[in-house]
Symmetry: D2
Subunit: 328 residues, 4 copies
């Protein structure tokens, strides 16, 4: 049994805490959140609750730390946990500042720390299946990857203003998926759009974007993002290869379909809340973390993968501003 | 080039005449219809036009006859054509009276005549593909066949009153499909319904029905009929076998699909007019007829198949009235 | 919190026990199974374990009983629990003998007992959605219901021999669904088949069947069963109504699809284990039971529904043997 | 009846000639091809045959000219026809050289000539439906268009070498579609790939590409091309808008689908020959041309549209070489 402290009791922290509590191989030792009362809301899950993450991290009865606190705290908490010899699963992104993320990576490597980054989509059963079948050679060599990722509704501009921008905040997941599927990326092109909310334009960010990444292998990934999607949480992927294509299609709460005088075979609205769409992914991500800690195996996605995704985000931002392809 | 006379210039006769005219292997010699002016409307197709089918049938420049006239005339015209030594493609049903159809069959056999019955669905590319793949053994032995056949809208009760009833008029196509897929049928159960138009009940007919047929092979076919279907012309088939299933799905005029705030992936209304849905089937049926005449090969569906379908219709009617399984 | 005793620690009992333990509104008080050691395997769920169901049923700290023991014990346990004033959720079927089930129903009614029957499919989110949308009038009046229900693999003939036969053992679920959708059924026709395993024929049972039920409303339900299905657990339903159709389609573990040189858009094998396919249904069934007990609301499906399903099974068996429509 | 001369009797010319011959509103006056014997192969369609296009163009019995000859002849033939006062339907591209295409456009405009360019996809029933429904406002404002266009197999490098390159030869159709859907395009980014045939790389061309176009409206179109597609002729489009999405899905020769022990619902290979996939489009394109000539209405796509598509192709080529966004 791995004793885990969960840092952060917000929306994501609550998921991780519940998954730890439900895991047959882990024990929820602590839930910490500096906001008074926040961690208490998760006390029914059975762990100790506290305000100070550092106390939990340092505690002898904690083997590993899951970090689900706000982005600006990630680096500090990672380093504290590594210093204390604890394994870490940290939510994305590592940091909004690439240089700082790289310093963190260097420090962790120097200390021999073990840090996994929470790109949960790698663990989504459908995406994972497509990846595994592609790796198995079932459809030959990957040539073109298309990732469609659209949120049901745009966040308020006030959130967007401090989010790091669409590429670091939203596309970051897709950058990791592209990297996961394509391997090393050589160049990035990006086009930003403002089609959803003028307030997002006013804070200097795009609310939709298309990014094209070319890999060393010659394969190209296209990412299509939008902060708003009328029909739900649009999460699709097509891996086109020399001998076929594997698709990850959208998902629905039920398999009901209707036909009427004007249409036929209509499924329901696409499953539209990320906590439902990726519930399995979060659970399987935690299981992979627990297993890797227990067996001493490699962490995937690693801290280095987290830094790579951030570097791709920065490159996309630069390209969207300069109109030039950015080489990595 | 096979010189063909088309008898009947109504909706179906017009299709046959156009297909004959367009065939690279046939020549439209005549179009006959006793209704003054009816055949003239097809004169642009290039054949001679006339009122008297017997004149065309007897003509030396006619090798074969396509009969698309009203059902009560079928037997007489078949026998006239056979007597004149002409090959025949006759629309379904052979006759509404089973005894009379059997007499016709006996007379044709005695005379060595060659008669094909126009069960066009055997030639529909999708149904034909499912049949061929099943015959090839791709999914093992057929165990359960489901045929869904629903018309977009019910005919007027005045038509229904002289139609021979739902089993002889509408289900007859499905009886032929069941026979085509299952081989010899041993027993029939049927349930009639009145759910669409009270006027149809008043003329003593059902407007929906479910028929279950058991074959000598042990396989069972289920036919589900309805005179009305809100979403179009519902024409589906599932062949369930020991190693899998082959489906014939509904078809649409285009491959467009829409997703909105309330639904996703909605195709258009199912293609809803039988002349469009089965345009290819009518064309391929004629081509098969022309080829069989030219090569002297067997006719399929044969006159005997036409009589079998009618016998199944009669059995279904009897079962729907008696509540008993009818053995054939 | 409702204190629940689960009787039976086999495959189904284990599901119920886990769902009780996970319920926010229920407490797992006991798990009983007369097989030594069986209940102990579920001791990690937190309830007391025992061999004697009657002890648990009588216990003051038990408010309700979930019966998941073998069918022959159902009636006795239902009556014991009702006598002890406990609410009951009992697995289907009530009994294999209709007369005995009716006696049980009479006794329960006389005692004012409250018994729900575990037809879990009513709680499957997809079937429940189709039912609710139909009830709402979204597609008009129901005319024809088609239920396809095929198991991935046939049970051994030794099980079949004591199962009560395909209609009471397998179709029973579909009879309840038909009844749930159509209301009162007036007549039943059935055809049995032997296409899967000769050993099943030897024990006098069918291994596939088609059943047609006509309701008082005029609607007809067709049930298509097979003990074996190469492509998985085939669980579909089509509700055809005056203004459209609602379908419950098959489900897959992931939404991956593949296209290759020979095929396109192929989903994975249909989800093939009933515990996965109906995991949500079992959970929601328990929640409905707990809620109905707490609120004193009606139980659905009721004990009377359980008796009705059994009566339909008996009628189908009789019809399959006599070839006659059986009136209810 | 519009009297039409078809210039070019190759694969495309033969389609146009057959469509003219079958049109109720047009007459096939001539078929010309300088290759001895080529036009004769189409003599059965009923027009005069000849070697010299100029003779047909000048002929008094010709009202309009359909140009399906090799690209290098297009400009000269367009100008000859315009000079003779004949309406023109010319296959894409106008020319491989943008400057020459612009000169042609200027000359035609100066002469008041009427020239339509054969971007047949605008007339494909599915694409046309998606366009029309989008224009109707059914799904709100267009934000992101995705065009997937992959050929079943790459042409030989010898053809590629004289084709003008992937952007002018293959993507040209997609540029017209993007322009058709998005209106005026402001900027182009492109990435070329060499993943299919090394011989294509040797002649200096890409065999796959991703192009991103940004329109004045703020909408973005992404075009994904590949010279080879294992599963057939991949021709899809997604129009994502503020209130929903309209898709044009791939098409299949039949609606058959198979389920087996390892997969479910597999359609056949995607329809893989462009003459089949776009048979309706070619026919409807001709009908639109004939109608526009008869009614004096505007030509769409116009010669200007043809020049625009070529300008987009040149911009894409430049961007793929420079790595910079090209402004138009």
């Amino acid at each position: 049994m791995l004793n885990i402290a969960v840092v952060g009791a917000g929306r994501i922290g609550a998921i991780h805490a519940a998954n730890v509590a439900a895991s047959p191989d882990a024990n929820l030792a602590w839930v910490c959140d500096p906001v008074p009362g926040a961690a208490d809301k998760l006390s029914h899950l059975g762990g100790r609750v506290g305000l100070d993450a550092r106390q939990a991290i340092a505690s002898d009865d904690v083997d590993a730390v899951v970090i689900g606190s706000p982005t600006p705290t990630h680096v500090e908490l990672i380093l504290a946990a590594v210093e204390a010899g604890k394994a870490v699963l940290c939510e994305k992104p590592v940091d909004l500042d690439l240089a700082r993320a790289r310093q963190c990576q260097a420090a962790v490597e120097a200390a021999g720390g073990r840090v996994m980054i929470g790109f949960n989509r790698r663990f989504d059963p459908t995406f994972a299946e497509v990846h595994a079948r592609l790796q198995s050679g079932e459809i030959g060599q990957l040539e073109q990857l298309t990732i469609v990722s659209r949120d049901p509704a745009a966040p308020p501009a006030s959130y967007v203003a401090v989010s790091g921008g669409i590429f670091r905040d939203m596309t970051i997941h897709d950058f990791d998926m592209a990297h996961f599927f394509l391997g090393e990326v050589e160049s990035v092109q990006a086009v930003g759009q403002n089609v959803v909310d003028p307030a997002i334009a006013e804070v200097g960010d795009s609310d939709a974007a298309v990014v094209v990444l070319k890999a060393k292998s010659g394969a190209v990934a296209t990412i299509i993002n939008n902060r708003r999607c009328a029909y739900g949480y649009d999460q699709r992927l097509e891996a086109f290869a020399s001998a076929g294509m594997l698709e990850a299609r959208n998902q629905h709460a039920t398999s009901a379909a209707v036909s009427t005088a004007t249409l036929s075979g209509a499924a329901n609205r696409v499953q539209d809340f990320f906590l439902q769409r990726y519930a399995d992914a979060y659970r399987l991500e935690l299981a992979a973390f627990v297993k890797a800690v227990a067996e001493g195996g490699p962490f995937s996605p690693s801290l280095a993968d987290g830094v790579t995704a951030l570097a791709l985000a920065d490159a996309a931002l630069e390209s969207s501003k300069s109109g030039q392809t950015v080489l990595l």
